[in-house]
């Protein structure tokens, strides 16, 4: 239990938590529903941008309210994820394109040989 009773803190936190949870869930649902690999990558970035952002802000608000001062350390996770996300995304995208090309080339090779 957080022990926060002020509605000025609690209402934004509740809204942020619900929004963050729903965004994460919809993003993960995209992983199941979207038809191709490249399309699925867009769904995943929902959870790691706005979904994560909402929950991080809720976390900063709660820990600041509990300590009675500004506690920004949860924001470090956002900074870290924003800096690192492009590396993973670019590598995965290029890996998928490379593997699709290699597969089709191998398929053609097998046809001409057979």
């Amino acid at each position: 239990m957080t022990g926060i009773e002020s509605p000025w803190v609690a209402v934004p936190v509740v809204l942020l938590l619900v929004a963050g949870g729903l965004l994460t869930l919809v993003g993960s649902l995209g992983l199941v529903r979207l038809p191709s690999f490249q399309a699925r990558m867009h769904g995943v970035s929902m959870g790691s941008t706005l979904g994560l952002g909402c929950i991080i802000i809720a976390s900063v608000v709660v820990s600041s309210a509990m300590a009675q001062r500004f506690v920004p350390h949860a924001l470090l996770i956002t900074v870290f994820v924003v800096i690192t996300a492009p590396a993973t995304a670019i590598m995965l995208m290029r890996a998928s394109l490379y593997r699709a090309r290699a597969k089709s080339a191998a398929g053609r090779g097998a046809e001409t040989e057979g």
Binding site: T2, V13, G20, L31, I55, S59, I77, A87, T88
Partner: protein, 93 residues
């Protein structure tokens, strides 16, 4: 009001947990190797979110450190797997 935050935190944790299940389905189902890597990537992001939400609920700072470590190691793991798919090697000479 504190109870309301508690319910909202449970809701968010349930959403992230369900997201982890969906990601696990993608990891098992595939079909391509990059789909599985993407599933693992989602899995660790959702796991990190679950921990952050539990940290909010418990009002404790310990969860934050675990979440930061998951973010660090999850990133290194995803990049290593993606690099392996791209080049067949993680650390090139």
């Amino acid at each position: 009001m504190s109870r309301l935050i508690d319910y909202a935190a449970w809701f968010a944790a349930a959403c992230a947990g369900l997201g982890m299940l969906l990601a696990t389905w993608r990891v098992i189902r595939g079909p391509a190797a990059q789909d599985r890597v993407l599933g693992l990537d989602t899995l660790y992001v959702n796991g990190m979110l679950t921990l952050l939400v539990l940290g909010i609920r418990a009002g404790s700072g310990v969860y934050f450190e675990v979440a930061l470590l998951i973010a660090l190691f999850g990133f290194v793991g995803s990049v290593a797997l993606a690099k392996f798919l791209l080049r067949g090697e993680v650390i090139e000479p």
